[in-house]
Symmetry: C2
Subunit: 210 residues, 2 copies
């Protein structure tokens, strides 16, 4: 149900392609996880159905304008700390369905590089990542044959796999992205909790009561 | 409008007595601000009217159960990192109106110790901080005469001061607590951003574009 069992510390990284802070986590997670000796499983999912189930028709950053304004400012500040200059995609949120299906279709080992490329196209270059013509060069740059991947991503098997992942995410208690889930089910929400999640995966419990 | 002008770096700390993460910020801010050489102004306000204005009848942690469940767990983890064992007040959110009026009524120099005492009673001891009999010992312990303070806190002058502070908070773009506002109006939301806010108050801009 969760990250690889029986082979050292592991962490599931649940991400949504429309999510600004998922992008920042995607930029940070590989180096931090390597330092921590934690294996990461990249698990794309869709926030749309989860938001819809709690009555939201769009991103909370659109529904609540003050929250949205500060998110964009904070996103720029946090990105600047990583040496990145971000843009707000138009429209926001981007429809990440096609990208998520592709990520779900790819071998696990290929998922991180593709996902990072999508995020960078979206949040650094302002590209519309809902469009196949914008995804094709990313795939080609990573050595994939775009048409083959598009066909696989559009298959019923992949569609239902992504649907099942999203349902699993919801059943695990996820309500936003990024989220990190440890092998024991411990859930951490948000890019700000990546370090804590890695520590937990490594057995750190601070002085938390059982 | 914002923190003390003309006398070195300063930061406004906006807090709400019902807010779990405001408690954690209240526990952390004095040591961190002292280390950073930043003067802190404690500014109690009410989230209720701001939430109501965006259509929320309660805390988002009640309205969105998955978010609420993870908040309580995260709150316990973050508190444990500070060596604190927290409880969930019942009911949640606590009505912090009386405590906020008292904080607004006290001299600025007396506000931090009173506010910390209220938070500790609420989140460590599970006491109902909406009740004067529970606030009186806290005031007495800090050398105040409770009845005098209660009378002052119930005055029209203090009531309207707190109302004006809440309206100011909303006009500054606040939508949650804790929030930190620098002298130039830069807004940081959440206990997780305290360190960044202090750095900003000290002139740090990372590589952020103008």
């Amino acid at each position: 149900m969760s990250a690889r069992a029986g082979s050292g510390p592991a962490l599931d990284f649940w991400y949504e392609f429309a999510s600004t802070y998922s992008f920042l986590a995607a930029e940070r997670i590989e180096m931090l996880a390597a330092e921590a000796g934690v294996a990461v499983r990249w698990r794309p999912f869709l926030l749309g159905p989860i938001f819809a189930a709690q009555g939201w028709s769009s991103s909370p950053f659109n529904l609540y304008p003050a929250k949205g304004r500060n998110m964009w400012r904070d996103f720029a500040r946090q990105a600047a700390r990583l040496g990145l200059r971000v843009v707000a995609p138009d429209p926001f949120p981007m429809n990440g369905l096609t990208a998520a299906r592709i990520a779900a279709a790819l071998d696990e080992a290929m998922r991180p590089s593709f996902s990072r490329a999508v995020y960078r196209a979206e949040f650094l270059d302002g590209r519309d990542i809902s469009q196949r013509p914008n995804l094709a060069p990313l795939l080609r740059g990573l050595g994939h044959e775009p048409e083959t991947v598009f066909a696989l991503a559009a298959s019923e098997a992949v569609k239902s796999r992504l649907r099942a992942e999203t349902e699993l995410a919801q059943s695990l208690g996820l309500y936003g992205a990024p989220s990190f889930v440890c092998a024991d089910g411990e859930l951490f929400w948000g890019n700000d909790r990546l370090e804590d999640a890695l520590a937990w995966a490594n057995g750190e419990r601070w002085a938390l009561e059982p």
